[in-house]
C-alpha cells in the first residue's frame, strides 16, 4: 500500500458508506477512495488516478469481474472521462497493495442509486457557483434529506452543463432545477459535469446503457467459471445490465436446450479468436438474480468440447444464440494472424498468461518464486526483468551507470548497465549519456548479489517505447492555461481483411501536463505551446512523477513529419559483447 493510499484509506467517498462493497467472488479487506482519473489503458484494464492535496498517484488494475458504473449504467473504462472524480473500491494485490479495483463509479451513479438529486436554491453566474439542497426520492415524491443542509457547487470554464443532449451556460440553471453532478476532485466541490432535470438524467443513463450494451454485445457477456463437471460449466455472468436484460435473452432464448457459444478469455476479458475458438453449448439452467452473482445471472451450460480455458476460476465470454461471435478490435484481440508489426504492448504476454512457464518470479506473477538471477555470459530471457519507471537523475557514462528516482517508491536507485545491456533514446541505440537527466525512463532491472534491483539490461525513454509500439498520443482536448492536455493513445494503422488501411480504435487515454519549460517541436523547429491543437499526433518525453509535482512533458514532437526523425531506421551503435563466463578458456 502506498503511503498516499494509506493516508487516505479512511476517506469516505460521496456515495455509499465505507465497506458497502458489492458482493464479489471473494471477501477481502477493501479500501474505498475517491480519486481523479488521470489515465486509463483500455486493453490491459489498468489506469491511474490521483488523490489528496499532493495529487498522489495511485495505479490500479481492474479485476475481471469489477463493476464499472457511470451515469447510473454499466460502463467500460473507455466511457469514463479523465479529470473526473470516481469512487474506487480496491482489493489488495499479491504484494498487499490496494491496487485491484473491484468497483469504480461516479457521483452521478452513487446519487442516482441512493435516489438523491439536488434542488437548486440559488445561482450566482458571476461567481460561477450555485447552491442546492439534497432531495431523497421516496414513494410519495422528493423530500429534503434531513439535516443535510445546502451545498455550494462551483463551476469553471471546463465544467460541462447539460440540458437534454446540449451543453448550456450556468445562467440557464434555474432555481428549483433538480441536478446531478460529477466532480473534479474528492473534496473540492468543482463540477466536471452538471446535468439539469430528471429528464436529462434519464436520457444520459439510457444512452450510457445503450452504449454499454452495444459494447458488450460486440465482445460477449463476460463470465467467471464457477464449476466444471464433465462437459458442463456453471458460469457467473457479470456483464452489467446486459447480462440479464430482455434484449440479451429475447423470447425463450434463455430456456434450457437453447444454444449459446462460450469463448475463452483472459483476465483482461480479451478473447483470442471467437469466430474460430468458440464452443457451442446448450443451456441447462438459467437463473436470474442469483444472490451471489454480481449482476444476477448464473448459467449452466453443456459444451461440445472442454477447453483448457474452461477451468474453475477462469473467465470466458458468452454469446447468446442471437449474438454473433466476433473478434475484438485490433489490439484488444489476443490472437492475430501474424499481423504485421503487431505492437509488443498489445500482444499476448506469456509471462502473464502462462506463469508456469517461468521458473522465477516476474512482474506478472509467480510471487512465490525468487527473481531471475543473471548468469555471466548469458542473455536474460524476455520477461525475466523487473520493470521500474523513474526519472534519470545522474549518469556516469564511463561506467555505464547512473541514478534514478523510482516512481513507485520515490527512492533513489544507483544502477549499472550489465555487459550487453542496451539503451534506447529517441528510438536509437545510444549510451546513457545521450538521455537527458530529468527524463522519465523505464529500467529493466535485475538483482545484484544483495538482492537489490540495480543491474539494468535495458533503459528506454518514453518516445522510444511509443515508436516501438507504433503508438501516438492524439490530442482530444486542450487547457493550456491549466497546462493540461487530454490525449488518446492511438495504435498503429493496420490493413483490414480486404487489405485496405484502417485505423483501429484507441487503446487508452491520458492527461499530459505541459508548462513553460516544455519544448514543442514541429519539424526541426521549436514552436510555442499555443501551436498545439486538438487532433495533433504527439510523441512525448516526460519528467518523472513526484508527490506534488506530477510528471510533465519535457519534449513534445508534433505530427508524423516530425516523427520521421525517430521512425526512419538509423544505424545501431555496436553493443558491447557479453563477457565470457568465469573459467571459459579464451
Amino acid at each position: 500500500m502506498t503511503p498516499a493510499v494509506s493516508a487516505l484509506a479512511a476517506l469516505v467517498g460521496f456515495g455509499a458508506a465505507l465497506g458497502a462493497t458489492p458482493s464479489g467472488p471473494t471477501l477481502e479487506p477493501t479500501r474505498q477512495v475517491t480519486g481523479v482519473l488521470e489515465e486509463v489503458d483500455f486493453i490491459h484494464q489498468t489506469g491511474r488516478f490521483r488523490i489528496g492535496p499532493a495529487d498522489d498517484r495511485v495505479e490500479f488494475t481492474l479485476r475481471p469481474d469489477a463493476a464499472v458504473e457511470y451515469l447510473n449504467a454499466g460502463a467500460d473504462l473507455r466511457d469514463l472521462p479523465l479529470g473526473t472524480a470516481f469512487e474506487f473500491t480496491l482489493h489488495r494485490d499479491p504484494d498487499g497493495r490496494f491496487t485491484r479495483a473491484v468497483r469504480i463509479r461516479d457521483r452521478f451513479t452513487a446519487d442516482a442509486r441512493a435516489g438523491t438529486t439536488y434542488r437548486v436554491d440559488e445561482v450566482n453566474p458571476a461567481a460561477g457557483t450555485f447552491r442546492a439542497t439534497p432531495l431523497v426520492r421516496g414513494g410519495s415524491g422528493p423530500k429534503e434529506r434531513p439535516a443535510a443542509g445546502t451545498t455550494e457547487f462551483r463551476t469553471t470554464a471546463r465544467t460541462r452543463i447539460w440540458q437534454g443532449d446540449k451543453t448550456v451556460s450556468l445562467a440557464t440553471v434555474a432555481v428549483g432545477d433538480e441536478i446531478l453532478a460529477d466532480m473534479t476532485g474528492a473534496t473540492a466541490a468543482v463540477c466536471a459535469d452538471v446535468w439539469i432535470g430528471r429528464a436529462t438524467h434519464a436520457a444520459v443513463t439510457a444512452r450510457q446503457r445503450q452504449r454499454y450494451a452495444a459494447f458488450v454485445k460486440a465482445r460477449g457477456l463476460p463470465a467467471r467459471v464457477e464449476r466444471t463437471d464433465g462437459r458442463t460449466l456453471t458460469l457467473a455472468v457479470f456483464g452489467g445490465e446486459p447480462a440479464s436484460s430482455e434484449q440479451t435473452w429475447p423470447g425463450d432464448s434463455s430456456r434450457p436446450g437453447r444454444s449459446v457459444r462460450v469463448c475463452v478469455a483472459n483476465e483482461e476479458l480479451r478473447t483470442w479468436n471467437p469466430p474460430v475458438d468458440h464452443e457451442w453449448g446448450k443451456i441447462v439452467e438459467f437463473h436470474k438474480a442469483a444472490p451471489d452473482c454480481r449482476d444476477g445471472v448464473r448459467l449452466v451450460v453443456t459444451v461440445n468440447h472442454m477447453l483448457e480455458g474452461f477451468r474453475r476460476g477462469r473467465y470466458v465470454r458468452v454469446f447468446p444464440d442471437a449474438w454473433r461471435p466476433q473478434d475484438q478490435p485490433f489490439g484488444e484481440q489476443l490472437f492475430h494472424y501474424g499481423a504485421r508489426a503487431f505492437p509488443p504492448e498489445l500482444a499476448e504476454c506469456p509471462a502473464k498468461e502462462y506463469p508456469g512457464q517461468y521458473p522465477f518470479r516476474t512482474d506478472y506473477g509467480n510471487t512465490h518464486l525468487p527473481w531471475y538471477q543473471l548468469t555471466p555470459g548469458a542473455a536474460p530471457p524476455p520477461d525475466s526483468e523487473h520493470r521500474v519507471f523513474g526519472e534519470l537523475l545522474a549518469v556516469d557514462a564511463d561506467r555505464r551507470s547512473g541514478r534514478f528516482r523510482s516512481e513507485e517508491t520515490q527512492t533513489e536507485v544507483e544502477f549499472a548497465l550489465i555487459p550487453g545491456g542496451t539503451v534506447r533514446s529517441r528510438n536509437a541505440d545510444t549510451d546513457l549519456a545521450d538521455i537527458p537527466v530529468g527524463t522519465r525512463c523505464r529500467f529493466h532491472l535485475y538483482q545484484d548479489e544483495a538482492g537489490t534491483f540495480r543491474r539494468a539490461n535495458f533503459v528506454t525513454d518514453e518516445v522510444s517505447d511509443l515508436v516501438k509500439n507504433g503508438a501516438l498520443w492524439r490530442v482530444e482536448s486542450l487547457d493550456l492555461a491549466a497546462g493540461m492536455l487530454t490525449a488518446a493513445r492511438q495504435p498503429p494503422g493496420v490493413r483490414n481483411d480486404q487489405g485496405d488501411p484502417e485505423q483501429p480504435p484507441d487503446i487508452g487515454r491520458t492527461t499530459l501536463r505541459v508548462g513553460a519549460d516544455t519544448r514543442v517541436w514541429k519539424g526541426d523547429k521549436q514552436v510555442a505551446l499555443s501551436a498545439l491543437a486538438v487532433g495533433d499526433l504527439l510523441l512525448v518525453n516526460r519528467t518523472g512523477d513526484r508527490p506534488g509535482r506530477p510528471s510533465r512533458c519535457t519534449d513534445v514532437w508534433v505530427g508524423t513529419e516530425t516523427h520521421k526523425q525517430f521512425t526512419t531506421p538509423r544505424p545501431r551503435k555496436p553493443t558491447p559483447p557479453l563477457p565470457a563466463p568465469k573459467g571459459t578458456p579464451r
Binding site: H336, G356, F360
Partner: protein
C-alpha cells in the same frame, strides 16, 4: 527373367483324358428336371437360341462345357427360365439343381489347380513367403508389403497361395529384380562398417516451426529440458518429420513419453507411421503418469532414403481437426498440464485428472543401423572362405553352388552352375570386384524360377510322388511359410525325410519352432477369410468406437485362438464352441467382459452371459460378414456354408433387389422381418431357406460383433424391435439362438472336420480339393476321430498321408 517366361511357356500341356463327373446327380437329379422344364424349348425338336440341354455333359476339362452349365444355373436360379407362362419348377428342385451344378463348377476349378497331368508343377511363392525365405536365406528383413515391396497376392476363396492364381506379371519381374538387389546389398555389404548413429528428435524438433523458434528462449529460462510434445487423441498427430536413412537395415526406435488415461476410459495409443513407405512402424497403448514417463524401444527395419514419419495418438477422442489441437503462436511450449493455452483441448479436469487420453512425448530416437557383426553373418556364410580365400573362379563356383542349393531348395546341376559362374567371369571382365561379380550371379539365383517358384516334378523323370527335396519344401512352406532349414535339407539329401517316423518327428519339431507362428497366423486368416475384416469400414457415425486397434484385436482374437488350440493340441470342436477365448483389454471392453488389462492377447474364461465361445462369435467373423452399416444375415449364412461346412451356395442371381426401407410412419422392423418379405419370392426362398437360418442365428450380434437384445433401426416408429435369432435348418432341426445352432453344429462335428480337412489340405497343397482327393480326406477324418480330432495330430496325419506326399 526371359528364362522364366521361356520355362513357363515350355511347361508340358496337360494330356490327361477329359475328366467326368463322379456322381450320379446328372441322371438322377438334373436330367429329369430338364425333361420337365427345359427340353421342350431347348431339346432335339426346338433348340431356341441354338442351345440344347439334353446334350449337356459334365467335362471338367472343357471350359466351354462348364460355361454352359454356369449359364444354365444362372438362368434357372434367377427365375429367368422357364419363361413366363410356363409351369414353374418347385423351389426345392431349383435349389437342388443349382447346388449340384455349383459342386460341378467347383470341382472343375479345383481340377484346374491340381497338378495331375503336369510333369512339373510351378507354384509361385506368395509375397509373405518370399520375405520369409530371404530372411532365412540371408538374414535380411524384406518389407514385402511396402510400396517398394511386392504386389498383393490375389486369393481364391480366401487362400492366397493357390498356384494357378498366383500368376506372374511384368510388374512382378521388375519388383523381384529390385527386391533381390536390395536384399543382396543389405545382406552382403562391402566397404567399411556403417557407423551406428543416434538421431534424436526432442520436443522442440517434434513440434517443429511453431516451437523451434522458442528453444533458445526456453534454454535461457532454464526449462528447455522440461518441454514435451503433447499429442491429442483421435489420430491427433505431430507434424511429419523426415528421417534420412543412409543405410538400409534394422534400427532401434526409442520413444520416451507419458500416456495419461482418463478414469474408465482407454489408454492413449502411440502410433508411428512411415508415410513414405506406407508402413505402420509400431503402435502401442501407453500408460505412464506425467511425472514418470517410460521409454519404449522397438526394432524396425528401414530401407534407405528419406522417411516421412508421423507420430499419432490413435485412440478415439474429441475431434482434433481444428484450432483446439494446435499450438500457440506465443512462446508457450508444453512443460506441464498447467501451461496449456486456453483455447486448446482440455486434457485434465479441475482436479488434474485426465479427461481425454493423451500423450506427452519427450523424445524419439533412431539408433542404427544395428549390425550383429561385421562382416554380416550372411556375408560370412556366403563368402565362407573368409579373407584368406583365393578370389578366383574356383572359389566363386563354390560360393555360387552353396548359395543356389539353399536358394533353390534342391541340388544344383553343373550346367546351371556353369551359367552362373560365367556371369561372375563376365562381371569381373567388366571391372567388378570379386564380391560384386559374385553378387551378380547371386542376383540371377534370386531371380530364377527355381527360387521364385516351388517346383514339383521332373520333366525328365515324371513321378507321382514327391522327392524328399520337394517334400522338404512343401512341408516347410506349409508350416513355416519359408524355406527348409538345414536339418530338412540334410534329411532330404540323405533321402530320409519321406520315412514316416522321420517325417512325424520333423512335423513335431517344426510345430514347436517359432517359425510355425507363420502357419498359426496365415492359415486361420486365409481359411476364415479374415482379410475381409474392415474391408467395408464400419460407419463412423453408427460405430464411433470402432477403430484400427479394435479391428486388429478382432483379428488377433481369431488367429491367437487358432494358435492356442494348436499349441495345446486341442480338438477341432473348440472351433465350434468353447468356454474360453483370447482377449486383450480393447476387445474385452468391446465384449463388455471385465478384468482384462493390457494389449497382449491372453486366454480368458467365458461365462454363458458373455454370449461367446468358438469361432462363430468372434467379432472378426461377425464383422467381416457385415457391410459397415448393418449386420448381413445372408452374408453370415454364406460364410458359415463356405468356411465351416464347405458347401458354398450357388452365387446369387443378378439384379437381386435390395431390402426395402419401410415407411417412416410404419413401426420399426428388423432385418430378419425384411428378409422374410424377400423370401416370399419363391425363386429366392429355396436358397435362402438353407442360407438364412445360419446367419439369422447371429442376429444378436451387431455389425461390429457386439451383443444386443434389440436391433437399432433408424427408420420407422417405436422403439428398437426385439431380435429373434431362432431358426430351422434345412433338415428340419430347430434352434433357439446362436448357442442352439452351435450345439447342432457340434452334433455334426464330422461334417465340420471334413470341411476343415479340405481347407487345411488346400492350404498345404496350394490347390483346391477334387473328387479324387475325397477318399484321402475321408481317411484323414476317420483317423483323427478316436483322438478327438486334435489339431496338431490332425496336421501330423495330413503330412503323413499320401495326399500330402503325392504330387
Amino acid at each position: 527373367m526371359n528364362r522364366i517366361f521361356l520355362l513357363a511357356a515350355l511347361l508340358p500341356a496337360v494330356a490327361a483324358a477329359p475328366a467326368r463327373a463322379a456322381d450320379d446327380g446328372l441322371d438322377r437329379l438334373v436330367r429329369p428336371f430338364f425333361a420337365d422344364h427345359c427340353v421342350s424349348c431347348h431339346g432335339p425338336k426346338t433348340a431356341k437360341g441354338d442351345f440344347r440341354v439334353d446334350t449337356l455333359t459334365v467335362d471338367y476339362d472343357s471350359p466351354k462345357m462348364m460355361a454352359h452349365w454356369e449359364e444354365v444355373m444362372g438362368r434357372v436360379n434367377s427365375g429367368d427360365m422357364p419363361p413366363k407362362g410356363k409351369p414353374r419348377p418347385k423351389p426345392a428342385d431349383v435349389a437342388r439343381v443349382a447346388e449340384w451344378i455349383t459342386g460341378q463348377l467347383g470341382e472343375a476349378e479345383a481340377r484346374g489347380q491340381a497338378a495331375g497331368g503336369e510333369r512339373v508343377a510351378f507354384r509361385r511363392l506368395s509375397r509373405e513367403e518370399y520375405a520369409n525365405t530371404v530372411r532365412d536365406l540371408l538374414g535380411v528383413t524384406f518389407d514385402a508389403t511396402d510400396p517398394t515391396g511386392l504386389p498383393d497376392d490375389p486369393d481364391w476363396h480366401g487362400f492366397q497361395r493357390i498356384g494357378s492364381v498366383l500368376t506372374l506379371s511384368p510388374a512382378h519381374v521388375e519388383k523381384y529384380l529390385a527386391a533381390a538387389e536390395a536384399v543382396l546389398n543389405e545382406a552382403l555389404p562391402t566397404g567399411p562398417r556403417p557407423a551406428r548413429e543416434v538421431v534424436r528428435w526432442g520436443a522442440f524438433d517434434l513440434r517443429g516451426g511453431s516451437w523451434k523458434k522458442y528453444e533458445k528462449e526456453y534454454q535461457a529460462r532454464g526449462i528447455a529440458d522440461k518441454v514435451r510434445a503433447d499429442v491429442v487423441p483421435n489420430n491427433g498427430a505431430l507434424d511429419d518429420h523426415t528421417l534420412h536413412v543412409e543405410k538400409a537395415g534394422d534400427y532401434l526406435v526409442r520413444v520416451k513419453l507419458s500416456g495419461l488415461r482418463p478414469e474408465g476410459g482407454r489408454a492413449p495409443r502411440l502410433r508411428l507411421y512411415d508415410a513414405t513407405i506406407g508402413r505402420l512402424l509400431f503402435e502401442r497403448d501407453v500408460e505412464a503418469p506425467e511425472a514418470a514417463p517410460v521409454t519404449i524401444e522397438v526394432r524396425v527395419h528401414l530401407p534407405a532414403g528419406d522417411h516421412n514419419v508421423r507420430i499419432m495418438n490413435a485412440v478415439p477422442g474429441p475431434n482434433p481437426e481444428d484450432r483446439r489441437s494446435r499450438s500457440s503462436e506465443v512462446p508457450n511450449a508444453f512443460t506441464g498440464l498447467r501451461t496449456r493455452v486456453p483455447w486448446q483441448m482440455k486434457f485434465t479436469d479441475d482436479d488434474g485428472k485426465p479427461i481425454v487420453p493423451f500423450l506427452l512425448v519427450d523424445f524419439i530416437e533412431w539408433d542404427g543401423p544395428v549390425l550383429a557383426s561385421w562382416p554380416t553373418p550372411a556375408y560370412k556364410q556366403v563368402f565362407f572362405g573368409g579373407e584368406s580365400a583365393a578370389k578366383d573362379l574356383t572359389y566363386a563356383r563354390q560360393v555360387v553352388t552353396r548359395f543356389a542349393e539353399r536358394a533353390w531348395r534342391r541340388p544344383v546341376r553343373p550346367a546351371e552352375v556353369d551359367r552362373l559362374v560365367a556371369l561372375v567371369e563376365k562381371a569381373q571382365k567388366l571391372g567388378d570386384s570379386f564380391e560384386a561379380a559374385v553378387k551378380t550371379a547371386l542376383l540371377a539365383v534370386l531371380n530364377s524360377k527355381s527360387f521364385l517358384y516351388l517346383e514339383e516334378g521332373s520333366a525328365a523323370a515324371p513321378a507321382p510322388g514327391l522327392t524328399d527335396w520337394e517334400l522338404a519344401s512343401r512341408l516347410s512352406y506349409f508350416l513355416w511359410s519359408s524355406m527348409p532349414d538345414r536339418r530338412l535339407f540334410d534329411l532330404a539329401r540323405e533321402d530320409k525325410l519321406h520315412q514316416p517316423d522321420v517325417l512325424r518327428a520333423e512335423v513335431r519339431r517344426m510345430l514347436t519352432d517359432p517359425k510355425a507362428a507363420a502357419f498359426g497366423e496365415s492359415f486361420p486368416r486365409q481359411w476364415l477369410q479374415l482379410r475381409k475384416v474392415g474391408m467395408f469400414a464400419p460407419d463412423r457415425t453408427l460405430y464411433p468406437e470402432y477403430d484400427e486397434y479394435l479391428e486388429k484385436s478382432m483379428i488377433a482374437e481369431t488367429t491367437s485362438y487358432f494358435r492356442e488350440v494348436l499349441a495345446r493340441n486341442a480338438g477341432l470342436r473348440e472351433f465350434l464352441d468353447s468356454d474360453w477365448t483370447m482377449l486383450n483389454e480393447r476387445l474385452a471392453a468391446h465384449y463388455a467382459i471385465p478384468g482384462v488389462a493390457g494389449e497382449e492377447m491372453r486366454r480368458v474364461p467365458l461365462a454363458p452371459e458373455h454370449h461367446r465361445g468358438g469361432l462363430l462369435t468372434h467379432a472378426s467373423v461377425l464383422s467381416l460378414t457385415s457391410d459397415g452399416t448393418r449386420h448381413r444375415p445372408v452374408h453370415r449364412g454364406v460364410w458359415v456354408l463356405e468356411s465351416i461346412i464347405n458347401r458354398p451356395p450357388p452365387p446369387p442371381p443378378a439384379n437381386v433387389p435390395a431390402l426395402g426401407t419401410p415407411s417412416a410412419k410404419a413401426r420399426k422392423t428388423t432385418v430378419r422381418e425384411k428378409l422374410e418379405l424377400h423370401r416370399a419370392d419363391a425363386n429366392c426362398a429355396a436358397c435362402h431357406q438353407r442360407i438364412d437360418p445360419l446367419g439369422l442365428a447371429f442376429d444378436n450380434y451387431d455389425a461390429i460383433g457386439r451383443w444386443r437384445a434389440v436391433e437399432t433401426v433408424r427408420d420407422g416408429t417405436g422403439g428398437g424391435p426385439p431380435i429373434d435369432p431362432s431358426g430351422e435348418l434345412i433338415d428340419g432341426r430347430k434352434f433357439a439362438d446362436a448357442a442352439g445352432l452351435k450345439r447342432l453344429l457340434f452334433e455334426d462335428t464330422d461334417k465340420f472336420v471334413t470341411a476343415f480337412a479340405e481347407k487345411l489340405a488346400t492350404y498345404a497343397l496350394r490347390r483346391g480339393m477334387t473328387f479324387g482327393d475325397r477318399a484321402g480326406l475321408k481317411r484323414l477324418v476317420e483317423q483323427s476321430k478316436p483322438g478327438g480330432y486334435k489339431l496338431a495330430s490332425f496336421i501330423e496325419s495330413l503330412v503323413l498321408s499320401d495326399l500330402f506326399r503325392k504330387r
